[in-house]
Amino acid sequence: SAVISQKPSRDICQRGTSLTIQCQVDSQVTMMFWYRQQPGQSLTLIATANQGSEATYESGFVIDKFPISRPNLTFSTLTVSNMSPEDSSIYLCSVPETGQTQYFGPGTRLLVL
């Protein structure tokens, strides 16, 4: 099973600033996913990050707001740009596992003031 770490685990940021979240996997994976979970809500897929290509964004999410990097097969970053209080959420990365399940990182809890 994959072990996934995320940094930071939590942060409090001022509106208008940007935060970059890191996701590190202990094995090489082709695909990584980034999710957002707004307070009291379910998970919503932001984008799929494949190594060596541009990330694929879901409807309602754009690269200018959520730029993603995928420099190698074990690492990805998600940046939340020009933050507003509405961006306060838990951000989670995940990787697919055999049998179509997913392993999730522990999440980054973001509060924007």
């Binding site: 919503t44 838990i90 399940t101 997913q102 999730f104 522990p106 999440g107």
Partner: protein, 110 residues
């Protein structure tokens, strides 16, 4: 949207009782999965049931799937305080994409 809806939204039971959560979804699926999330942390995969299966067991967990009704249920038997968490169903779409339901918040009172 393929997002599933779960009910109840919240459930509070005494330790030792059984907890049942239901999930409904909208489109055809390859499989349905259940995940647990403890206190706003990462999700942990619990169990997967394929579209050609009707029931599956794993320890104290029992999952049923009715594809004709597009619904699934998760039963946790003999609940423990450590089962307190949010539970999400998730349906598998194309290209490894998983869509999560709205979740049930379970509280098990010792």
């Amino acid at each position: 949207s393929q997002q599933g809806e779960e009910d109840p939204q919240a459930l509070s039971i005494q330790e030792g009782e059984n907890a049942t959560m239901n999930c409904s979804y909208k489109t055809s699926i390859n499989n349905l999965q259940w995940y647990r999330q403890n206190s706003g942390r990462g999700l942990v995969h619990l169990i997967l049931i394929r579209s050609n299966e009707r029931e599956k067991h794993s320890g104290r967990l029992r999952v049923t799937l009715d594809t004709s009704k597009k619904s699934s249920s998760l039963l946790i038997t003999a609940s423990r305080a450590a089962d307190t968490a949010s539970y999400f169903c998730a349906t598998h779409g194309g290209y490894q994409k998983v869509t999560f339901g709205t979740g049930t918040k379970l509280q098990v009172i010792p």
